[in-house]
Amino acid sequence: MNNRLRITATLHCDLLIIGSGGAGLRCAANVLDKRPETRVIALTKNAHPQKSHTSTAQGGLAAVDPGDPEDKTIYHMFDTWKGSDCTADQDVIKKICDSSWEQILWLENRGMHFSRNPKGKLSKRTFGGHTLNFGETSAYRAVFEADRTGKGMMDTCWGESLKRNISFLNQSIGTELLFKAGRCVGCLVFKLKEGEFIRIFSGATVLATGGSGQVFKITTNCRQNTGDGPAVALQAGLPMMDPEAIQFHPTGMIGPGILASETLRSVGGILRNKDMEPFMAHYAPRMKELAPRDLVARAIASEIRKKRGILSSDHKVEHVWIDLRHLPDAVHEQQIPEVSGFFKKFLNLDPKSELCPVHPSSHYQMGGISTNAFGEAQDHLQRRVPGLFAIGECAAASLHGFNRLGTNSLLELITMGKFVGNKVLAYLDHLSKEPTATVDFISFDRFSQYLEARGKNKIGQIRIDMQELMTENVGVFRTEEGLSKTIDALRELKDRADQTALGCKSLRMNQELLQRWELDNLLTVSMAISQAALNRRESRGAHFRDDFPERDDAFNHHTIVIMGSFNKVEIKKREIDMSIFKAKDQHFEKFDFIERAY
């Protein structure tokens, strides 16, 4: 073992939060609000909590205002259920939708700068999939802060935690959960700047590490979203639920992967291939560009597969065009100024006179660490794992099933953050004494292996190969053949990764060492996604199998993946909670396995 690896300190706290995005800090703020003396430590891999991915969410935050004369919580619940392609859990939907407005008020009362209407009250906007009266018309249900809703939320949750004496450990990664007699008692932490391992013993531990978008080549996600949370959980023998459910946005801008919003198509933007053909007519003759997201994403991917894409020589990706040149100046200036601005800023082109390159962009991971409706982590038999909780994009309770509605995930962060905070307090009440036990861990073995490995492979190249492989075969289109091939190829990539000598052996702020660890996480999550996708021989929500294009009732269940090791993956099932349907209250029939058609 590498003799420079040592535990340099052992810290004790009541609550350890691994990941200081919106979810983690909403939880921290709740705990500290209710019980200010709680000792809370929050980790972030980023340089600072404010740099978390939550800060980049733009659009809005869904919640039914009880003062709204038209909108009702039951409609929001229905939209979420239908949107999920009937794979969300109804107990979770109900809990979250019921407490949504209360949480908006929490944010507002604590100083979030929501956009206002002329009367000074919160403005609301519409979002795809949110409707009144079970699909009749669009609902104005999303509150927002201009085009920076996530930032407003992040600033508020961070500020509220800071105010209450939280201890932040920035640029510190949770590498491994610690267990004692089946109970999670903390985490091993590697402090990147100092290059030191520390051990944190905690009464309760919350995983809130965010998404895993970096699995794919084009993503809207930030650089830190490498699926660490699910990988750490899988490594601890805990299951990941529905990893195959990944949402792609049809039109990500080449390069930064940022969303070129849906609006571009609704104002009349036309998708074209390399022969300038408006190809949507072949895929959706009636709706064309206005067809649902997933259909458009598949149409774009099909064109690229059929060699009708264009290669970006700068970013080395194939793409199609979105043509906005025919739109009147007024549309450019009044209806799509932000997106036009992004094309100008990041691609140096003028959408008024030039074609804009787009490609489906991986956007959101619906699945994650398996939890119950209270955010308590579960093992594969759905037994609670004492002391361990998971929230936010890294977790699956599940609110989103196989397809997330826009604006529902920010809502999930604040509501589940609060619920988990309450659960943590109750758990701490019943915890007898501080765990000071020594526990086993494997991180040193892993890091030693990274530092001492030999071989000419390059981490960057392996990551690129993995992203290309996943984008090609496990992206918007999936087939038995492609998935099987991918699983074999992932094993090879893992072998290559293990034979990679690092150029820099220092422990302090060694970006290469971090990337090596992240690569293992990305490969682990990729393997879980691919195996689950192979197993699910149907199409549902964002998971589309070319060879099984319909939804199949035989798969009306969640996927549970456990990984004994990288090469040993087991797939199990978890029942979908149908409690709203089973309660037989008014409108219960809307919560059956209905068709997801718009």
Binding site: S55, T56, P66, K121, D314, G460, Q511
Partner: protein
């Protein structure tokens, strides 16, 4: 314009193990719309995996990738190769970390330490006024919000702090002043006295000597100097705002 450029990045590197600092030259063949973060990644993937740099969202929303290019603080994710060549009129670029906090390695500086200045102005509502009722939000008219909403767009990239000569000494810095002013103007904040004390205290706005460098470099195009000037003119001391 050319489709490709031969670029030289002269990167200031720092190794914390032996506290050695040096300039390393990297020669790159770069497409015209690659951004500087793409160039950094290209260096990692093709030439030198040991070079460290910071970023997160990589689309100008988080303020993590701030660097100095030919002396100008900016976001590396927003600088395209062809714009850089044109703006600086050269294909050779000096790349350095911002000096607002100690450097950890290469271009990575210690943002946690830089943020200490923001923490000092208490970037939250210290003492919230009572909302109209439990079930209600505050009413804040769009006109009232207009006074400070631009300041809330700040992403704490610290470019302004880097450009501001005063903030290298005792001044908390332009972005800290913005964070402070927001809550002075926010009608939901009751605790105005403490706020004004920070704003007008010995590390506050009077340290500014109106060079406007902050507004010039802000990637969010916030007129930071304007806000600071308003505060210096005593605008926020107005009893109507208390």
């Amino acid at each position: 314009m050319a489709s490709h450029y031969h670029i030289t990045l002269k990167i200031r590197r720092y190794d914390p193990e032996n506290r050695r600092s040096w300039i390393q030259n990297y020669h790159l063949e770069a497409g015209r719309i690659l951004r500087f973060v793409d160039l950094f990644r290209k260096i990692n993937n093709e030439q030198d995996p040991t070079f460290s740099w910071n970023s997160s969202c990589e689309h100008g929303q988080c303020g993590t990738c701030s660097v100095k290019i030919n002396g100008k603080p900016l976001l590396a994710c927003e600088l395209l190769v062809e714009n850089a060549v044109q703006y600086f009129n050269t294909p050779v670029f000096n790349v350095e970390p911002l000096e607002v906090a100690p450097v950890v390695r290469d271009l990575v500086f210690d943002l946690t330490k830089a943020y200490k200045r923001i923490d000092q102005v208490k970037p939250y509502v210290i003492s919230p006024a009572n909302p109209p009722s439990d079930q209600d939000e505050y009413s804040i008219s769009p006109n009232e919000m207009k006074q400070y909403i631009n300041a809330t767009r700040c992403i704490n990239c610290f470019c302004c702090s880097s450009a501001c000569i005063s903030s290298h000494r005792n001044f908390l810095g332009p972005n800290a002043m913005l964070a402070s002013m927001i809550r002075v103007l926010d009608p939901r904040e009751k605790e105005k006295a403490q706020r004004l004390k920070i704003l007008y205290g010995h590390r506050g706005v009077y340290r500014c000597h109106s060079s406007r460098a902050c507004s010039f470099v802000c990637p969010k195009e916030i007129d930071v100097a304007h806000f600071v000037a308003l505060a210096k003119a005593g605008r926020f001391n107005d009893p109507n705002n208390e």
